[in-house]
């Protein structure tokens, strides 16, 4: 029972109109025949399970039926931003870590997840967005 901003409809809509579709920004190997089993398995089956910032693919299933991306905090469930397909997020674990400048924040490969980013860092990032 919350509202999600659809970047295509350009307004907030009821959550029940949307459907989550898993992790975003997963690129299919350009040449599947040439990639190793490990690479293909990683692409096909393995997904991040971060505590913190997560970039997800959602679909506005009842509205415009377009896919788009959501940056969500998996601890607070807070939606930090939504952006169209093909665009890059402005809020990432790395950007939050830079904001934080603290040792306790760990950034995993690719900047797709973080641990221990404080609420203050999140709040200031949101402030920069608005």
């Amino acid at each position: 029972m919350f509202h999600i901003y659809c970047p295509y409809c350009e307004e907030h809509r009821e959550e029940e109109e949307f459907h989550p579709k898993g992790q975003a920004h997963i690129a299919r190997p350009a040449d599947p025949d040439a990639c190793s089993d490990a690479e293909w398995g990683d692409y096909l089956f393995f997904r991040d399970n971060p505590r913190g910032i997560h970039h997800e693919l959602w679909v506005h299933a009842v509205g415009c039926r377009k896919f788009f991306n959501i940056t969500r905090h998996t601890v607070t469930y807070e939606i930090l931003e939504t952006y169209r397909m093909g665009e890059q997020p402005t809020i990432t674990a790395e950007s939050l870590a830079r904001e934080e400048k603290a040792d306790k924040v760990q950034v995993a490969d690719g900047g797709q997840q973080t641990v221990g980013a404080s609420d203050a860092a999140l709040a200031s990032m949101k402030g920069a967005q608005a």
Binding site: Y8, E10, E14, E16, E17, V62, G63, C64
Partner: protein
Amino acid sequence: MSDVRLFDSRPTAEVEAESPLVLSQLDERARRAPASPGVTLRERAFLGHLILRGGAIVLDEAVRQVLGVSLPARPGALVLDESGERSIQWLSPDEWLVIVPDGEAFSLEQRLRDALGDAHFAIVDVSGGQTVVELSGPMAREVLMKSTPYDVHPRHFPAGKGVTTTFAKATAILRRPDEGRWELVLRRSFADYCYRWLVDAGEEYGLAVSTGD
């Protein structure tokens, strides 16, 4: 001209057409209309519904030429022609719904295809797949507020807007062609269910079903 084979889904008037609400006994309900109804429900059956898909710039030119109105590019926009009988609604960034009076869909599709030529587009006649139910009266908004989570306050939902949203646990296109009317574009399989929902939801406001024009 694209080489898509076309057929008229309703070629003659001899074959009797049935609306999705044919078994819903609207006549029966219409006879029991309250004296001063708060909401009036009317079905706009057998309108021509076309789905246009393609780039906005390409379609806009053809639509201006054929229908004489510009394609609504703004999300949620609904545009009517001067008579108010033909409308185009934004459904998604590359998809529009055109609703025209009975019997015009086939010729409109042909004219649009002629105008679009070899451009990259799709036109699908979905007239048989959905029907339009119109709500009017002072309490129409109250009935909608019971049925959909979408904000139907005039400040948020002015005339000339239309959205696809959840309605009565089903999905419907909700649109407001002018100040006094709300239109619901219902899918064929949901039509009877939504009609019954509306009759139930409208009971407390005195819902009248109108079957005449």
